[in-house]
């Protein structure tokens, strides 16, 4: 649009465009931000739309200026290429160092941050599950929270009605969620891609509404209790139930409820590591390659004899299973579940993690999950703007970097040093 090096003419044009953009922005912002409804009358805040419009105009001007600059020199891209090669060579070391860091972490942070870290790992687990569906298989699932809810309620209700322990609920919740995923996926995956998004969105809401309204079975908005796991029959409470022994008595330690959080942290770390390993392996197997091939071109895949429904179903089922697993962990860590934890906002949160991390990239998704969980805790004021920032991030990422901040890297062939 803007020719490069036009000098004064270019600047004048940018200024005009910025003024028009600012004017439109003012018209948009004036009624909604300029006045607030209070009762049946209005309160004026006229400075708000003015400032917003000025910022939009400035932003537009800077953007025009930025676009007209000469492209960055190839040195930068060469540098990033060299960095990614270095990363390839030292990948195993890096993973080991990070894993070691994650293992010693619980002894250096307090109780509060330990709980944040547990939540972060749960989100890593969920994001890894959604990443298989959205990132690898290219199926936009907007109701991922449904499987999360099935897992969480599978454990809580399984405990209440069947007396399931956490260890039994882990496979039970995961399988239940996978069944739901396959049941929903089987008819739906034959359809057009966009319809899948809206059907999963509807399904997520159905599950939440049923949980919320089926008072006699799920307790409705009051929720259900979900007990903490035990370690080989050893409880983590202050006092043991009759016939049981508590952790601090067994090991002759003074009582502290930090043990149970550390135990839970390591349990999650093991499961997440297993998941990362599984995804890494799957991506190199024919199944994983089929997922990515289907994402790129379904018609070509059909021509090559790949069964789209079976392949998609495996991704969808695996994603749902991971979601269910995350749900069981969530229920156990909170000790209690109710329907407010499973709104659409939760699905959007997990989706934002996958998109920011770069669809398909395991490392990026883990980094994004940790960042997006820790950041709102660290900056309390920021929490209110969370939804707004997630939305902006989604739009900006799609416009600017559809491949994610870190992007997905494929295994590649390299010339060996000898040849």
């Amino acid at each position: 649009m803007n020719g490069s090096g036009e000098g004064a003419h270019g600047v004048g044009r940018w200024l005009r465009e910025a003024a028009i953009t600012g004017g439109i922005a003012f018209l948009l912002f004036a009624p909604i931000t300029g006045v607030t409804l209070s009762g049946y009358t209005l309160e004026g805040h006229w400075q708000r739309p003015l400032w917003l419009a000025v910022w939009v105009a400035v932003g537009r001007f800077l953007w025009s200026w930025f676009r007209a600059r000469p492209r960055p020199s190839p040195a930068l891209s060469r540098l990033s290429g060299a960095f990614s090669l270095w990363l390839d060579d030292h990948r195993t070391h890096l993973i080991l160092i990070l894993l070691l860091g994650a293992m010693i972490l619980p002894w250096f942070i307090g109780k509060y941050w330990l709980n944040v870290a547990i939540l972060a790992w749960i989100y890593v687990l969920l994001a890894l599950g959604l990443n298989i569906v959205v990132g690898l298989a290219g199926l936009l699932d907007l109701g991922f929270v449904a499987f999360y809810a099935v897992g969480a309620y599978g454990y809580a209700l399984g405990h209440q009605y069947l007396g399931l322990s956490f260890w039994a609920a882990l496979p039970f919740g995961a399988l239940l969620a996978a069944c739901f995923g396959v049941m929903l996926g089987f008819p739906v995956l034959r359809m057009h891609g966009d319809y899948l998004a809206i059907v999963t969105l509807g399904f997520g809401e159905i599950i939440r509404l049923v949980i919320n309204n089926w008072m006699s079975f799920t307790g409705g908005p009051n929720g259900v209790r979900a007990p903490f796991p035990s370690l080989f029959g050893i409880d983590f409470g202050r006092r043991a139930a009759p016939g049981h022994v508590t952790f601090h008595e067994y090991f002759n330690l003074p009582y502290s409820n930090e043990y149970r959080d550390i135990f839970f942290y390591f349990l999650l770390l093991i499961v997440v590591s297993g998941m990362v390993f599984l995804v890494r392996r799957l991506r190199r197997m024919p199944l994983g390659r089929n997922w990515e091939a289907l994402r790129e071109d379904e018609i070509a895949c059909r021509a090559l004899g790949i069964q789209p429904v079976t392949v998609k179903l495996s991704a969808f089922g695996l994603g749902a299973m991971t979601g269910g697993l995350g749900g069981v962990f969530f229920a156990a860590s909170q000790g209690f579940v109710n329907p407010t934890s499973f709104t659409f906002m939760e699905s959007a949160h997990i989706l934002a993690i996958v998109i920011l991390g770069g669809m398909g990239s395991t490392g990026g998704v883990i980094a994004a999950a940790v960042l997006l969980t820790v950041l709102p805790e660290a900056l309390r004021d920021f929490a209110e703007y969370r939804g707004l920032l997630f939305g902006c991030a989604m739009v900006l990422m799609m416009v600017w970097r559809p491949k994610g901040l870190m992007g997905m890297r494929r295994a590649r062939f390299r010339r060996s040093g000898v040849a």
Binding site: Y40, I198, F344, G387
Partner: protein
């Protein structure tokens, strides 16, 4: 269910269906022309509800008293600003992605929906808002006793009349003007239309403006009728209107209206027969079932994928 309750539910269903139909138009036109689900459309409707309340309060403060003048002014102002919102959404979130992957515009649309919801929540507060209802007359039919009647409020009559009028204007625009011809041409074949001198980007912008205007009509009328709303109403109403669009056959204008009426009626009768707690579950299940068994809808044509 007695006769009176049944007829009352049918009346309510027709009113609800007209609203769904008006919003469904926005989904169906956008899907027909660029093949994407505009998730932010429900939130554009929500913004229209807020704008209505704000303009209504502003006009009352300015001392405008006559109901017809208020209705007309609020409607026109709301349509103007909401159309601008529809245009901006397309310009910011969808136009840069015209040649991107299939998934990108969908994700961008979800992002836009979150932005609009939180933007309204942050500037207007999260609580449920209300407007005074000033159209409170009603007509009673089949009156046979103290509790034996069917009541139709003036606001409900206004909704149905305006929905029919709005659809009529839209139908005229699409069928009888050069602008509508350009829209239909781009819908059939965007590349061919551009070779024949139709500016595709302008037509797409126009479709977003028209869709947002219809959502604005719906938002204004619903606010006049119910008088209460919050920043989250666009979500559920949006999914239901999309259900209506799919039910009628996505891409078809009469289909959107028909789908809206069918959905509104069945939802309303379901509420009367079974219970109201599960009426959203019913609507969403209908969406899933329609997509599974008849994805081309009542009036749509099956989609053929070409290489």
């Amino acid at each position: 269910m007695s006769f009176h309750i049944f007829v009352q539910q049918v009346v309510n269903g027709l009113v609800l269906g007209s609203v769904y139909g008006l919003i469904a138009v926005g989904y169906t036109m956008v899907y027909g022309i660029i093949g994407m689900i505009n998730f932010a459309h429900g939130d554009v409707y929500m913004i229209a509800a807020y704008l209505t309340a704000i303009f209504l309060a502003a006009l009352t403060l300015l001392g405008v008293q006559s109901p017809p003048v208020i209705i007309l002014l609020v409607l026109l102002l709301t349509i103007a600003v909401t159309a601008l919102y529809g245009w901006s959404v397309e310009r910011i979130a969808y136009r840069p992605l015209r040649h991107s992957t299939r998934l990108a515009p969908l994700i961008s649309a979800i992002g836009m929906s979150l932005i609009l919801q939180n933007y309204v929540r942050l500037s207007q507060g999260g609580r449920t808002q209300g407007t005074p209802t000033f159209l409170d007359g009603s007509v009673r039919l089949f009156e046979q006793g103290p509790d034996q009647f069917v009541q139709i409020t003036h606001a409900q009559i206004l909704i149905v009349v305006m929905a029919v009028l709005g659809m009529g204007v839209l139908w005229y625009l699409m069928q009888a003007t050069a602008m509508g011809r350009a829209c239909r041409a781009v819908q059939q074949d965007r590349i061919m239309a551009s070779l024949l001198g139709v500016d595709g980007d302008r037509v797409i912008s126009l479709v977003f403006v028209l869709g947002a205007s219809m959502a604005a009509v719906a938002g204004t009328l619903v606010t006049f009728n119910y008088g209460s709303f919050d920043f989250f109403i666009g979500f559920v109403t949006g999914i239901k209107a999309f259900t209506a669009a799919v039910l009628g056959g996505i891409g078809s204008l009469p289909g959107a209206m028909l789908g809206g009426l069918v959905l509104g009626l069945s939802e309303s009768i379901f509420s009367g027969l079974v219970n109201t707690d599960y009426k959203d579950v019913f609507a969403f299940s209908l969406l899933v079932l329609v997509l599974i068994f008849r994805p081309s809808g009542l009036l749509g044509r099956p989609e053929v994928e070409k290489v």
